[in-house]
């Protein structure tokens, strides 16, 4: 047992901190930290700066730009990125479709897509959920019918984030009416400019217009855009989702939010006394800090025993990280509302201190954290089965 970071690990953390804070523009990072919306350009700028340093896709295979970092390094990289308010390299590209192509795509696909994905020259969005299949993802109904050298896709995807910015979409589609519904699913890459694709934004309760419905009406997709084997898409999706779950814990984000909340509490007064001196609020914050620290150590335990970084297969432990990570992030949104008090109420135009404006929208928006990426109920089912054997 060596329960402290090594010298090298500490040096790496310092390097990451310097890079993220010095080389990613402050204007972009502040937007993240303050809960404001980032433009497409912001996201592209930050992503490409990281890629220029070779830090956009560290968990990929080395030949495609990966860094062969230890799991601890990968953790430190995320932790520093999140605490600095750097928007992560586009997750749809980097955490989702990229690893699937790298692991299951053919050589032509790798050459065509991976460098472009790594540099965000191509922007991918995700076509998994459908109106009728949320938690029960395998019940999806979008159909891809083979027609010569093409698939013809018909159906509807929903909950597609940032489709408005996307060049391509990766989709789960039904290619066979197999007995087990999981067995007839394939993983397709589709150009968003294909005739027959339309999309429509869905406004979320925080007022944002980040998510979309995407409709497919006889969309012809070249068969070469099938990743891996036909009807094996479910396996690739599970691989993808387990990658997503770990990163969803976002411990660095919560750390930074808590520090910020504590700083802001000094600006607010109740009864003439700074809120930062109110024992009730301090204890409420401290209670969240305790859980966050416990979760961080839990992540480190998982990470330190994983010599292969995030490239290891699905891990039911990641479900624990997903559940608690989302709960803690949600708790921080309530703490921020506690700090800003009644000034979480105004919406438009903003009224009160500038830091109050994002409090309620973030509280509303982050309810999604316990819903998407496999709802927390689904995660509990996974743990009950895979860890407890129930």
């Amino acid at each position: 047992m060596e329960l402290n970071f090594t010298e090298q690990e500490r040096a790496f953390r310092a390097e990451a901190r310097r890079f993220f804070r010095d080389e990613i523009p402050r204007s972009i990072r502040d937007k993240t930290l303050e809960g404001r919306d980032l433009s497409r350009e912001d996201l592209v700028t930050a992503h490409r700066l990281m890629n220029a340093r070779g830090w956009a896709v560290p968990q990929w295979p080395v030949e495609w730009g990966g860094r062969d970092w230890s799991a601890v390094q990968t953790y430190l990289y995320h932790d520093e990125m999140e605490q600095a308010g750097v928007p992560p390299p586009l997750p749809f590209n980097v955490t989702m479709v990229g690893p699937v192509i790298a692991a299951f795509g053919n050589d032509a696909q790798k050459r065509r897509f991976l460098p472009a994905i790594a540099n965000l020259d191509l922007w991918f969005c995700q076509g998994f959920s459908e109106p009728g299949s949320g938690s029960d993802l395998a019940s999806l109904a979008t159909v891809a019918r083979r027609d010569g050298g093409h698939y013809v896709v018909n159906g509807q995807k929903t909950w597609t984030s940032l489709a408005q910015y996307a060049d391509w979409i990766f989709c789960l589609v039904r290619t066979s009416a197999a007995a087990r519904k999981q067995e007839g699913i394939s993983f397709l890459l589709i150009d968003m400019k294909s005739p027959g694709i339309t999309w429509r934004p869905i406004q979320t309760i925080d007022g944002g217009r980040e998510i979309n419905e995407v409709f497919f009406d006889d969309v012809r997709v070249p068969a070469e855009n099938l990743v891996g084997a036909e009807n094996k898409g479910w396996d690739y999706a599970k691989y993808l989702l387990s990658n997503e779950r770990t990163s969803i814990a976002r411990i660095g984000v919560s750390k930074e939010r808590i520090r910020r909340i504590k700083r802001l509490a000094a600006f607010e007064r109740a009864g003439g006394v700074p809120l930062s001196e109110d024992p009730r609020l301090r204890e409420k914050i401290a209670a969240v800090e305790v859980e966050l620290k416990a979760l961080e150590l839990t992540l480190l335990r998982a990470v330190a025993s994983d010599r292969h970084g995030s490239r290891a297969g699905p891990d039911p432990f990641s479900s624990i990280l997903k559940i608690k990570g989302s709960e803690i992030q949600q708790a921080t949104t309530e703490l921020l509302m506690d700090v800003v008090g009644p000034y979480c109420m105004p919406a438009d135009p903003a009224i009160g201190p500038g830091y109050a404006a994002a409090a309620a929208p973030t509280y509303f928006n982050w309810r999604k954290l316990s819903i998407y990426g496999g709802s927390n109920e689904i995660q509990r089912n996974i743990i009950a089965k895979a860890i407890l054997g129930l």
């Binding site: 019940s139 929903t158 869905i202 979320t204 309760i205 003439g272 009730r280 008090g341 919406a347």
Partner: protein, 386 residues
């Protein structure tokens, strides 16, 4: 003891329910929200025509003579319908100020106009530094001959954007956060020196920041007894909280119903998700939270008129705590059990969730009211007879 509504109360409930069902579904709300005021003057006229706007006022003043129970019935329906119109600001909050603080002549002048729908009120009692403390007032009022001159700023004034007259608290004497020295003034919206910054709240309700620069208020528009109005202000706010509790029950009941409906109709894994026991038990906990909240809203209505102000304050604080806690739990679970669809503006439940969140954060959130209750000794004090 009898919790059943009287025949008159049943009629009132049917009447408001009918109006809400017809005029405040999602499509109507969306249309109302798109209007310049963010709500519908047309619907307001219907409120007037059906007698709701005069409800809490004495018949002698031109009202209907309803009490807290009647207000509770209406407010619960307005919550269920997520009504955007300024009923709460004008009739409940403004109305309470007038009923409890205005001289008879002023009541006789204004109540009929409120009842007719031609007068909108707002009550400005918070300031930038005050959070939820009604005696933390720095706006000043100084006497100038027969009238008063007001200076300062009131913040987060619900429906202050549209109000024809704005009732504000101001300090005529005393230092910061002193109970003594407060006054309540009815300010003409068009007064010289009054400026408003209008905004919309997260739940779509309009409001305003208001600044007062040498605003003159004539003697006949003074409510209560300047310098001695803390008790009046607290009484008005407790009455308002009781009404908001009832509104919250309407909101929660709607979320609970929507959730159960969703559990029955949404199918995943080949069956309604309401078949899953873990979700059933959470739906049960929603129901329990709703029933506890409903009970406390009833108690709050019972206590509005209580002769003992300290007991009233404690009980109404407790009601607000329960409402806040039940509301947050029901709301968060409603969104979670709905899944993605609950996060969208196209579906109803998210709108209720936002209204509920703002109800909790207004008039003292659950933590604030709990602290106030604890400071006051809690609910079960000495041998209090029950």
């Amino acid at each position: 003891m009898n919790f059943d509504p009287s025949d008159d109360q049943r009629l009132l409930r049917d009447s408001i329910d009918r109006l809400i069902a017809l005029e405040s579904d999602m499509a109507h709300r969306r249309r109302g929200a798109a209007l310049p005021d963010g709500w519908s003057r047309e619907l307001w006229e219907k409120f007037a025509a059906l007698g709701f706007l005069g409800l809490p006022f004495a018949e002698a003043d031109g009202g209907i003579g309803g009490g807290p129970a009647e207000t509770m019935i209406v407010m619960e329906a307005l919550g269920r319908g997520l009504v955007l119109e300024p009923y709460f600001a004008t009739v409940v909050l403004g109305g309470a100020c007038l009923r409890l603080g205005a001289p008879a002549a002023l009541r006789a002048e204004l109540v009929p106009r409120i009842a007719a729908g031609s007068l909108l009120l707002a009550f400005g009692w918070t300031e930038r530094q005050s959070r939820y403390d009604p005696v933390d007032v720095t706006t000043t009022a100084r006497r100038d001959g027969g009238s008063w001159i007001l200076n300062g700023a009131k913040s987060l004034v619900m429906h202050g954007d549209v109000a024809d007259k704005i009732i504000v608290t101001a300090r005529v004497a005393g230092g910061p956060r002193e109970r003594a020295g407060l006054g309540v003034f009815l300010v003409e919206g068009a007064s010289a020196g009054l400026r408003r910054t209008a905004y919309r709240s997260q739940d779509g309700i309009g409001a305003a920041e208001i600044t007062l620069e040498d605003v003159r208020v004539d003697a006949q528009f003074v409510l209560g007894e300047p310098g001695n109005d803390a008790a009046l202000i607290e009484r008005v706010l407790d009455e308002a909280i009781a009404a908001r509790c009832a509104e919250a029950v309407g909101v929660m009941a709607a979320m609970q119903r929507l959730t159960v409906d969703h559990l029955k109709t949404r199918r995943q894994f080949g069956r309604p998700i309401g078949d899953f026991q873990a979700l059933q038990h959470r739906a049960v906990d929603q129901l329990i939270a709703l029933e506890l909240a409903r009970s406390m809203a009833l108690l709050a209505a019972m206590m509005v008129d209580a002769p003992d102000a300290a007991e009233r304050r404690r009980t109404i604080a407790a009601a607000k705590v329960q409402i806040g806690r039940s509301g947050r739990r029901i709301g968060e679970e409603a969104i979670q059990l709905h899944g993605g669809i609950g996060m969208t503006m196209e579906y109803e439940v998210g709108h209720y969730f936002k209204r509920m969140t703002l109800i909790d954060r207004s008039f003292g959130d659950a933590d604030w009211q709990l602290a106030a209750l604890a400071r006051a000794g809690g609910l079960f004090v000495d041998d209090d007879g029950d």
